[in-house]
């Protein structure tokens, strides 16, 4: 047992104690929005300089900003909001962070303890509302608990499978004197996630992999969360094996793209080669991914003949939807390091002939060139969205700058995942699990706060961007030059695509009439507005956007009816993938059962 840290003698006000605990936790930035219940905290913030406060324009934006900050730095993102509506506005962001395993500490104001339960002004049952929206939450009812709870919350948020933690702070707790305690020696009484892999299981995994005839390595966001060293270890391990590797949407950047061993992203809009290799493999190694339904397609047809190894820090992810043969609970980084060591130790030779045969099948699939598209280059021709992303990638690569990409949700998000390539982890911020429209702009804001000199681009859709457009004002206030690159198809393109493929072309409510003029909108937010209406204008707009020192909205008018392919329709199997119009037609794997799925 640890010795309880001594409470300091001269007690400060709760709000001061809170800030002191945040400082001790290494917090440099808070994304927040004030209100009555948290005024004591704002007073304490006013009196110090160590922690910077970024005033967002809506609390939902604060959580996404903290997510972008966290995901691009590996640190815990911190949010501060008032009680009632301030707290309820954070719920979407909290669930987003929960689904994508992003470490967040969200401080919410609460009415004074003696009013709790009285339907007081701006009272909401925040711990009740956020219980299923967080990894854990706290209501601080006693001043002596305050500092301990803050330290605990940070520990819970960042350890094991990271996630959001809410601390609900009644106003009297913030005003009354509270004792300070430092970070305890034993971080937690009950929460002690397992991070070291069982060596015997690692040996078994290596034995399976060495004898594999058609292996595949499938890695996810867990590798990113395990830190940059884990991604580097993944690269070494993959290269030592010579096996094909694919990443989930959340895992992009863990393995550099393009690369001969990299098959691209897998899943609903993944590549032909990645999905068919997953379907046909005989040994699958999943590291830090969770067999999400966007990845597996129809479960009973998912990779039917493979022996599956699953490494995850969250035991409940193992055998949740897909039965695996070998489950290993561990931190992804530690597990990959152990795999590499065991791979060297196990002297079994990989059968290079069978592996070569497997690769030649994969190369046949790759030769389909499933992401091929046709761009008419004549003057005045309509811009294909894929081409816009491809050019954005190519032009930004010419710059010698750190580049971070965030996205909104929809077709543009999938095209970004397909046509923008990442060579490093933590450079790609997207809402994967929850699929939250409105994520990308505030997330980009958070990224830019953490990386002031980097080029931060939100690849957006014209519908999504309107969901948190108010954060343009925050960008202006703090001179954060985030670029918003809108693939404007005037449709909720992903909705339109499903309606075309699954609902007989009945485009119910998926067209947005009366969109704003994004150029003028940018200007009114003190940003630069640009527009490309045809292919000949595209490069110039991209170049002006990336060289501007201001926030920019680039309105890229793209083909309105373009669909995102390849696609595994809901309820279909990996080998029932639909390819784009560039490819010979094939049966569409859409079923009535699939239509009922999301």
């Amino acid at each position: 047992m640890s010795v309880a840290p001594q409470a300091s003698v001269a007690a400060q006000a709760g709000a001061e104690v809170l800030l002191r605990a945040l400082k001790e936790q290494g917090v440099e930035v808070i994304f927040g929005y004030p209100g009555g219940a948290v005024l004591p905290i704002y007073d304490a913030i006013f009196k110090q300089n160590a922690i910077r406060h970024i005033l967002v324009r809506q609390e939902g934006g604060a959580v996404h900003a903290a997510e972008g900050y966290a995901r691009s730095t590996g640190k815990v993102g911190v949010v501060l909001v008032t009680s009632g509506p301030g707290a309820t506005n954070t719920v979407t962001g909290l669930v987003d962070a929960l689904m994508d395993s992003i470490p967040i500490v969200c401080l919410t104001g609460q009415v004074p303890t003696h009013l709790i339960g009285n339907d007081a002004f701006q009272e909401a049952d925040t711990t009740g509302i956020t219980r299923p929206a967080t990894k854990h939450n706290y209501l601080v009812k006693k001043s002596e608990d305050l500092a301990r709870v803050v330290h605990e919350a940070f520990y819970v948020a960042r350890s094991g499978r990271p996630g959001p933690v809410v601390i609900d702070l009644p106003k009297d707790i913030l005003i009354n004197p509270a004792p300070y305690v430092g970070v305890p020696e034993t971080p937690h009484r009950s929460y002690k996630p397992q991070t070291d892999p069982d060596p015997a299981l690692i040996e078994q995994a290596v034995a399976l992999l060495k004898r594999a005839k058609k292996p595949i390595i499938y890695s996810g966001g867990g590798v990113i969360n395990a830190g940059p060293a884990a991604s580097a270890a993944l690269v070494d391990f993959v290269r030592a094996t010579g096996f094909p590797v694919t990443n989930t949407l959340m895992g992009l950047g863990a393995y550099p793209s393009p690369d001969p061993l990299f098959l691209g992203m897998l899943g609903m809009h993944g590549t032909y080669q990645a999905n068919l290799a997953m379907h046909d493999c005989d040994v699958m190694l999943n590291i830090g991914a969770r067999f999400d339904d966007r990845v597996t397609g129809r479960l009973n047809a998912f990779s039917p003949n493979s022996t599956k190894i699953h490494i995850d820090i969250d035991r409940s992810s193992i055998n949740k939807s897909v039965h695996v043969d070998l489950g290993i609970v561990a931190d992804a980084g530690k597990a990959i390091a152990a795999l590499s060591a065991a791979w060297k130790k196990d002297k079994t030779k990989v059968d290079s002939k069978v592996l070569a045969a497997w690769w030649s099948r994969i190369e046949e699939w790759r030769a389909k060139d499933c992401l091929r598209f046709k761009q008419d280059m004549s003057k005045g021709a309509v811009i294909k969205p894929q081409y816009a992303i491809q050019r954005l990638f190519e032009i930004t690569q010419e710059l010698k700058r750190e580049i971070f990409i965030t996205t909104e949700v929809g077709q543009h998000q999938m095209w970004a995942a397909q046509y923008f390539h990442f060579r490093q982890p933590n450079r790609w911020m997207t809402s994967g699990g929850l699929g939250t429209m409105g994520y990308g702009l505030p997330a980009g804001l958070g990224v830019q706060v953490a990386h002031p000199d980097a080029l931060v681009i939100d690849i957006a859709g014209e519908a999504s961007i309107l969901m948190n457009i108010q954060e343009m004002s925050t960008l202006a206030q703090y001179r954060l030059p985030v670029k918003t690159f809108i693939l404007n198809n005037q449709y909720m393109g992903m909705v339109r695509q499903w309606q075309e493929l699954l609902h007989g072309g009945r485009y119910s409510e998926s067209y947005t009439a009366a969109l704003p003029d994004f150029v003028k909108l940018a200007e009114s937010f003190h940003a630069e507005g640009l527009r490309a209406e045809s292919v000949d204008q595209l490069d110039d707009v991209i170049r002006r956007m990336v060289t501007s020192e201001k926030p920019v909205i680039a309105d890229i008018c793209v083909d309105q009816k373009e669909n995102c392919f390849p696609m595994i329709p809901s309820g279909a199997a990996h080998n029932e993938m639909i390819l784009g119009p560039e490819h010979e037609s094939q049966s569409v794997g859409v079923t009535d059962a699939g239509m009922a799925l999301v």
Binding site: T127, G128, R131, P132, K135, H136, N137, L139, K141, V156, G160, R161, H188, R189, S190, Y191, D314, R315, S316, I318, N319, K320, H323
Partner: protein, 169 residues
Amino acid sequence: MSNTLERMATISVLVDNEAGVLARVTGLFAGRGYNIDSLTVATVDVDRLQSRINIVTSGTDMVIQQIKAQLDRLVPVHRVSDLTHEGPHIAREMAMIKVVASGEPRVEALRIAEAFRARVIDATTNSFVFELTGNTDKLDAFLDLMRPLGLAEVSRTGVAAIARGARTI
């Protein structure tokens, strides 16, 4: 793998006695669509402020494993044990059963109560309250017999369970 075979499971969970912990557990079951057939909770360690929650649930083996794993990752949870799976265990519940009857049914109710070793803890000229402890099947059987005899009200504790032998949670 017996992917479709459902089984009952009695799961014991040792938790920190903090506010909202029961809501976390029941919310987990509701949110993920697991069954709760019985649930009991009480403080078992006053010094360390720990409570024990006993849950009787059912599902396929994969679902039961998932329930265990989901419970285990709740922050205030210390231990999760699937008593049904991990060896022999004992499960008991207690019920207070009110029978309102007179004449022959009343006599019959008392006779059956004796056979079940139920205790009479309250009696009036036209009613009894029986106290009966046993496993769930025994309580159910007793209630079935009391129903035609004037069963009026039941209060059950739900299942408390513990492993046999020296093994602890």
